[in-house]
């Protein structure tokens, strides 16, 4: 059986990965998935790992956490927004998903 759930997605610079992940966990996320990324936004152009980038931690990372309740998703997003994205570049958004084995999320 599938159950409705919410995925919170963050795209930001790699050196912020640990900070974002621990915020996600402290707000009740039970797991997360990490994907190396590149991209362009208001700030730099970030190369993917295909291309060397001289400064450490400047590449992008995409972090996804799935939670069951929308309220938890919003808490996670609001916390990261306040603690990280008030100062650092990055985007955050939600997607509606349907999960199997809901007790794991």
């Amino acid at each position: 059986m599938f159950h409705k759930a919410i995925k919170v997605i963050v795209v930001t610079e790699k050196f912020l990965q640990d900070r974002v992940c621990s915020l996600m966990e402290s707000c009740g996320g039970k797991g997360y998935t990490l994907v190396s990324a590149g991209g362009k936004g208001l700030h730099h152009l970030h190369a993917t790992d295909d291309k060397a980038s001289v400064a450490e931690g400047l590449g992008n990372i995409k972090i996804e956490v799935i939670v069951r309740e929308r309220s938890k998703a919003e808490t996670i997003a609001a916390t990261i927004m306040k603690d990280v994205f008030s100062e650092y570049p990055g985007i955050i958004y939600l997607e509606h998903v349907e999960i199997w084995r809901e007790e794991r999320f």
């Binding site: 050196f15 730099h44 295909d50 291309k51 001289v54 400064a55 450490e56 400047l58």
Partner: protein, 335 residues
């Protein structure tokens, strides 16, 4: 006059040095839109091998060194790191239309040290057989860490004054830890410890040493590509950053040379050591400095300080300062 002429001749000769040629080659590749890239994982591996080589080599020779001799140059290194940041703070505060945090962060990066510039200078000295004390590469953190700390402290004092009370407390110990944990300093310190305490002679001579020049050539290529790519970003900020990036390495190098010369007189610091100290001073951090500064001064615009450092500061340090202070030493020390 003589020095100038000699420097000019030497500079033209240096254009042929592999170090510089690969740097220019990288910029050319980027400028012509070549699809040739060096993957990120190869870059990380190259930096690791270069710094291990420098560290192990240093560690092995330090075993027999009189570390007391290191004291004066180490103190001078700290001093240089701090003075560079203060000078930069003053320079940018005199200018119109410069966001102060950006200026201080830039000064912090130029006070900090570049592992690749250091490696390039070591290769030159080894090629020219100009001796230096084995522990000179270990001066790196003595200049790097104080510069980064002071920049972050100054920026936060400035921000606190601006929006009364709005900033974070500066956690100095955290900055020291962050710096030492960065990939570049970690590898250098690990290499030093391994060289000092383990029997690493054979692995040094069979592996790290033979790869040194070749890996440096590829690192130069990467720096050249990145210099070209980041030039666009630099153009997006005030032109003062470009000016600073061109002039500051020479000024900082001269400061390093002066204090190095003083150390030569006081405690017999070697001519090669003086050159390396100048180059360390002239260099600006490209690998691990940026993330530390982003952590410490979040509101500073990285396009300003990373652009200034990568697209102009590092090329100037490598292409101008290394030959300049090397030839200066030859003249001053009558070599």
């Amino acid at each position: 006059m003589n020095v100038l002429l000699e420097f000019l001749l030497r500079f033209v000769a240096q254009l042929q040095s592999p170090t510089l040629a690969f740097l220019i080659g990288g910029a050319l590749l980027a400028a012509t839109g070549s699809k040739l890239t060096i993957p990120g994982s190869i870059y990380q591996f190259i930096v690791f091998v270069l710094l291990m080589r420098i560290g192990i080599e240093g560690g092995i020779e330090i075993r027999e060194a009189n570390l007391a001799e290191m004291l004066v140059p180490a103190v001078f290194s700290v001093l240089i790191g701090l003075v560079i940041v203060v000078l930069g703070r003053i320079f940018f505060s005199l200018l119109p239309k410069v966001k102060m945090e950006d200026g201080i962060a830039t000064a912090g990066l130029f006070g900090a040290v570049s592992a690749s510039t250091l490696a390039a200078a070591i290769v030159l000295l080894e090629e020219e057989s100009m001796m230096f004390e084995a522990w000179v590469p270990a001066l790196y953190p003595f200049m790097d860490i104080p510069a980064l700390i002071l920049a972050i402290v100054l920026a936060n004092l400035y921000l606190k004054r601006k929006h009364a009370g709005g900033t974070h407390p500066v956690r100095i110990f955290q900055i020291v830890k962050d710096s030492l944990r960065g990939a570049a300093l970690s590898a250098l310190v690990l290499g030093l410890l391994l060289g000092l305490f383990a029997q690493t002679e054979s692995v040094l001579s069979s592996f790290y040493d033979p790869l040194f020049r070749g890996f440096l050539s590829i690192l130069m290529l990467i720096l050249g590509m990145e210099a070209y790519a980041r030039a666009k970003e630099l153009r997006s900020v005030a032109p003062w950053f470009a000016l600073y990036a061109v002039v500051a390495p020479v000024v900082h190098g001269a400061l390093g040379f002066a204090l190095g010369y003083l150390a030569h007189i006081l405690v017999g610091f070697s001519p090669g050591g003086v050159v390396l100290l100048s180059v360390i001073a002239a260099s600006n951090s490209d690998i691990s400095g940026p993330p530390t500064l982003r952590g410490g001064i979040p509101s500073a615009n990285p396009s300003a300080y990373i652009g200034a450092s990568t697209s102009l500061g590092t090329p100037v340090a490598i292409a101008v300062c290394i030959p300049l202070f090397h030839s200066l030493a030859q003249v001053v020390f009558n070599l």
